[in-house]
Symmetry: C5
Subunit: 356 residues, 5 copies
Amino acid sequence: MIKLTYLKPGTSPSALQIEGCTKGAPPKITLCTYDISTFEEVMCDDASDAIRRMDPSKNNWIDINGLADIETVRVLGTHFNLSPLVIEDILTSQRPKMEHLDEGIFLITSMVRTNKEKEGEVEIEQLSLFFGKTYVVTFQPEQSRDSFDEVRRRLRMEGTLIRKYGPDFLTYTLLDTVVDHYFPVLEMIGDDTELIEEALVERPSRNTLKDLFHYKRVLLEMRRGAWPQREVFSHLMHEEKGLVCDQTRTYLRDCYEHITQIIDIIENYRDLTTGLMDVYHSSLSFRTNEIMRVLTLVSTFFMPLTFLAGVYGMNFHDSPYNMPELTCRYGYPAFWIAALLICLGMFIFFRRKKWL
Amino acid sequence: MIKLTYLKPGTSPSALQIEGCTKGAPPKITLCTYDISTFEEVMCDDASDAIRRMDPSKNNWIDINGLADIETVRVLGTHFNLSPLVIEDILTSQRPKMEHLDEGIFLITSMVRTNKEKEGEVEIEQLSLFFGKTYVVTFQPEQSRDSFDEVRRRLRMEGTLIRKYGPDFLTYTLLDTVVDHYFPVLEMIGDDTELIEEALVERPSRNTLKDLFHYKRVLLEMRRGAWPQREVFSHLMHEEKGLVCDQTRTYLRDCYEHITQIIDIIENYRDLTTGLMDVYHSSLSFRTNEIMRVLTLVSTFFMPLTFLAGVYGMNFHDSPYNMPELTCRYGYPAFWIAALLICLGMFIFFRRKKWL
Amino acid sequence: MIKLTYLKPGTSPSALQIEGCTKGAPPKITLCTYDISTFEEVMCDDASDAIRRMDPSKNNWIDINGLADIETVRVLGTHFNLSPLVIEDILTSQRPKMEHLDEGIFLITSMVRTNKEKEGEVEIEQLSLFFGKTYVVTFQPEQSRDSFDEVRRRLRMEGTLIRKYGPDFLTYTLLDTVVDHYFPVLEMIGDDTELIEEALVERPSRNTLKDLFHYKRVLLEMRRGAWPQREVFSHLMHEEKGLVCDQTRTYLRDCYEHITQIIDIIENYRDLTTGLMDVYHSSLSFRTNEIMRVLTLVSTFFMPLTFLAGVYGMNFHDSPYNMPELTCRYGYPAFWIAALLICLGMFIFFRRKKWL
Amino acid sequence: MIKLTYLKPGTSPSALQIEGCTKGAPPKITLCTYDISTFEEVMCDDASDAIRRMDPSKNNWIDINGLADIETVRVLGTHFNLSPLVIEDILTSQRPKMEHLDEGIFLITSMVRTNKEKEGEVEIEQLSLFFGKTYVVTFQPEQSRDSFDEVRRRLRMEGTLIRKYGPDFLTYTLLDTVVDHYFPVLEMIGDDTELIEEALVERPSRNTLKDLFHYKRVLLEMRRGAWPQREVFSHLMHEEKGLVCDQTRTYLRDCYEHITQIIDIIENYRDLTTGLMDVYHSSLSFRTNEIMRVLTLVSTFFMPLTFLAGVYGMNFHDSPYNMPELTCRYGYPAFWIAALLICLGMFIFFRRKKWL
Amino acid sequence: MIKLTYLKPGTSPSALQIEGCTKGAPPKITLCTYDISTFEEVMCDDASDAIRRMDPSKNNWIDINGLADIETVRVLGTHFNLSPLVIEDILTSQRPKMEHLDEGIFLITSMVRTNKEKEGEVEIEQLSLFFGKTYVVTFQPEQSRDSFDEVRRRLRMEGTLIRKYGPDFLTYTLLDTVVDHYFPVLEMIGDDTELIEEALVERPSRNTLKDLFHYKRVLLEMRRGAWPQREVFSHLMHEEKGLVCDQTRTYLRDCYEHITQIIDIIENYRDLTTGLMDVYHSSLSFRTNEIMRVLTLVSTFFMPLTFLAGVYGMNFHDSPYNMPELTCRYGYPAFWIAALLICLGMFIFFRRKKWL
């Protein structure tokens, strides 16, 4: 599930020889230009087009949806004066982090979402963004279609806080959206683990084990994203270059607390999945134990009886010592009485052992 | 068991579109107005009514019991000048925390109580409160009926410390009540795990496993509440705006030590439940082992005997080489002697293996 | 095993409504008055009597043995000017801690001792004490009879360090006694776990499991006491009000190192008990495996043979096709040869599987 | 897998009596002399030859490939004024670390690579290097042939950053190569563990267990190398003697972030391998359980039937009480009906137990 | 294995009433007097003799081999002005630590060695030493004969560093010897665990389990010694009283790094032994599973066949309904065909279950 994209070992960061990167459709580039009273949304042909249309007197949000085309990133990088290392960061797998640019801030975050189509699947993707005094540029991997739709909707409405403040508040809103997406995922995992728990105790199967391990993997991945994200918020809150205004700081603190809570819940769920592994195992042992008990009961009841029947099926003859029981008047009823006594003895034995 | 309430991802905190929140009856609002010599307790119709009746020259305690009605919180928020983020915090799931308001302090705590009706059930709920120079406002989710009854009783009595000091001491008393409720819950869990241990060793069943895992979940949840609560007390003790007087600080330190002790006990119990999982498992293995031993003993005793009986039940004839034993004078007694010798051999073998 | 005493939730600390506290006999109060040249030891009737007999020009040690009578503690608290919170601490379960009083220091420690009567049992109890310029007051729960006997013996002898120095050195001696009692307990646990290990590998039983889990519990409890105790010694060593003289500080450092070593050993033993749980489990699996092997061997040897014997016990007749073997001259010897060949085949198969 | 080389206990570091060191071919010594416009690459005969050929006006990179010959290291050590302790560090197993020399910096790093020949094998080796104002000297154990080939290729090209900057940038490039080699290894492990997971659930075998434990070992070793390496980068970034220029520092930060990410992934994989151990175990238990169910079903169906058949194979006769069923008109059909009824009963019983 | 020696609880440190201490032969006392040009080695009769022979103008090393005689330690303590607490530390079990004396430094270290006689046994013993401007005094428990032989050999040689520098360098050399002894032990454990791993997967036995747990214990003990030892080196390196010269500090740093590396390896091995416990367990489960499969196969093949044979061994007669098969012309061949068909059916069933 961990899909790594990384530079070919030994190559220069600026060469952008990336392993694990898949070619795809060209990126969808959206430019939103807005201030407190105006709002405009344009689909751009390419990166240069978007740069040309930017209005430096307003707030500009360029959203790149799809990272298959390295050229787009390079063009934006050149215009916004990004170092080759930052461009490499956008294109390869990175931990969430914050970095100061010459005149802005660069952020990498880890987005988590439930897959609408496949029940129980969780998508984890890397969102990069940087913002300056008048612009925010976001990079989403192609498959994610609607992460920021709700934000765009709020942006279109007049009078919202998001329109009132600058790019730092838009950045906060985007980060908050990223963080809030963790909650439904955690809720789903919480509900599912409870179902799994029930299934494990009642009827453990190979698939429950698979599901359980799947969530174990997912939680590990989410945790790997969440921990450094918390640091990112902390760094952003205490940023000192004046790019983040006081109002936004207060809101970022809220974000920070949410991600802390998310981390707590993730850690709890990890503990629970480990515990459920034990439950699965114990549940199986319990069933094996029960099956064995039945087998043992049946065997211990019938083995002596079968032996007894076998004895009187023997063909010894021609001598008064040879099986006089067979010709005895009450031989056969005596056999059944003996069989019943054996059963009774067994029964008492098992009762005392508490196996019955 | 973790019941999350959270904002819909992408929406603004001030929009209060909350997921996981259940509609319910209107809140019960109680206002206590008191100073060292007077005490008055009124049930209010709604939030505005409570605000109107407040007496700024005395200490006022507004208790909101039930959070289904967002409007109530909003009205109080407007009057006490709370930011939308604080209102969101009251209505959604949060970690215990302390936050400075413009002229007061806002606290979220995690309350734990045994369920009176369902044996072994533990209720965990979020209590929010804020206090200023002359008021304390508390928010309890509806289901909790009597968490603060005992405090109200002490408030009604003249001469108690709680009447002598201001809202900060009332806040301490409420927090102390929250913390002290952990002890009976831990006591219950301690007693129950000892019962479970005994049950596990003597007669492991599917239900003991369920109970054990239930307590594992509860302890994880309690721990998630207790750790940040400790930080809250520490922050409150070292608050510097003069809202907490020295006397109260001393008492808060006591609270701080209690929650530290609670955390220690929770961690111990978590270790014990994990250990008990192992005990359950080992106990099952032990029983399986014992059952197997009986099965093996019975099988190894009777299988050779049955074979022997089978041999002499064969119908070979018409040749002196064919089963001369059958017509031998002491054939049948010899058979029994052989059977006894086989049994004896087995017995010695098992004795040496220490299986008997 | 964790026996909690705590305030009823919601009640005031000064009300002393304690849950989990058992009534008992009145406390035994001993007063020792000593300086470098004199020593006097009196049994007092009650707390007031002890206070009256104190000699402020010498060192006084009041030892309260038994905490069932709340009144005794209250009287001493009033005389020594203790806050209600300190009195609560003496009477309820607390973590080891150090607290500054107006003119003295208050300490809570956790004492561990082997139970003389019940083999393998460990008693953990809370000892509280406070000391000032001229006095030490110690509180022991009733059941402990002789924890400080050895100290009293040294006090009676002239020329010992304990007589030379003041109450701080007496306090150190008492704390050192508390710490030194951990060693024989750890030694006992160490010896017992080695016996348990041996028992586990050779003949795992239900009782070894119980013993093992018992020690797991004990170690967890000891650890809960030892960790904060280390902090207590550290705080006491760095106390700055001049109540602890330099000589005593050096000795306290020794104590501090001992408790650190104790913590190390406890952690090691915890790791070992967890490992032993695995050993128990593996040992059981090994035995089950061996038993199964015998069962499988016996079954696979005798099942085919029994079938063969069964075949020639059938009664087909009246047709030349029906069991001509039975009348064949060497039918019966051929049967035995077949049986032996089957056994040989099995034997080779099992040898290659390394089951024999 | 941990191959330790260390000094014989008690001997002096300067004596270089090394245990665990294997003799081999003489080292391959390559000298690259370059500046922004020129580049020269020579194979040297021995260490003295390389020292002689160095051009102090340019950047020099001496690469020692193979550490079997202690003399080579000693000669270089004498020329570059290394202390005996540094020479010991190059020749024995060490943790990654950074150390200040008189006029340079000495680094030990841990290199990880997939073995091209053996699928799934990972090679971990120690690379030592030191650099000064005009030189870099690297030491590779012999078996590694091409770790730095890609770097040499970039060095040969004019206009690359590596040619522009000094030995500190070359050092960064070498370190970056070391770090980047971790990614393909982690990718391989990630892919393999997914295959192992599938294999474990579907058809657990002894080899999957071996593979799993192999990766556990590898991850532990990689982790042992990665953690201190992170410190090395941190120290190097904050080096204060002016040997590392600002540009290089920025690039080193990138390296630092990569190694942090690598550590995160290693820790995740460690958690996963532990989880997979549980999966293996549970998967086996599940299969055992299933096999047992079949055995129990077969046994419980056929044991009573076999007994019944045995009964009617008995030879009781000569009395009207002895087996009148045998001569009964519908005796045999009745037998089959009884057999079917027994089967039916069993079937219903197992259905209710959910074993069928 | 943890052999504790400690003061009897409640007794004074100066009384030296030590529990767990065994009486033995008198100590072997060696005095080495040396400076850069001279060296003398004498066996002394007792402690006073050694003190008398010391030459204050040279470096003196008194080595006490054997701690059974408390008097020897007391005499040295008096001469070198040691506090009773230090004397207690030498004679009882302590964590590794460093302590400042009036005019010297006192050190406790934990020595680890392989037992030459018993394969796989590891000896852990406490070495105490103190040194001043002109002397080093070392205390070894009796059983260790040759820990410092190699050091003495180097001391005898002229021109070695050890002869050039003072007692601090000798101290370093002794500490380095202590640290270097860890490596062969770790190498042995590493080699043995690999053998154990192989044995576990191929043929798990009770002894491998014992060995594994033995190493678990050893590693825990080594770890308990190694961690504080690291602190000791750190404290010694940063000692500020001028007893340790700069040259020695550099060498001590080397020691510090070695012990850090040792700690890393110990932690790795602890993880591996825990993992091997799982491997053992899984390996057993795998074997049980395989055995069960054979048992189940044999049972399910032969049980129906035996039943069939049993049926046709029944004695129903006297009615055309009673077993007409028996007199049927092709009855017996039909029986075999039926038997083969049953086998075939079973075979197909097991193939589809992948049990064959």
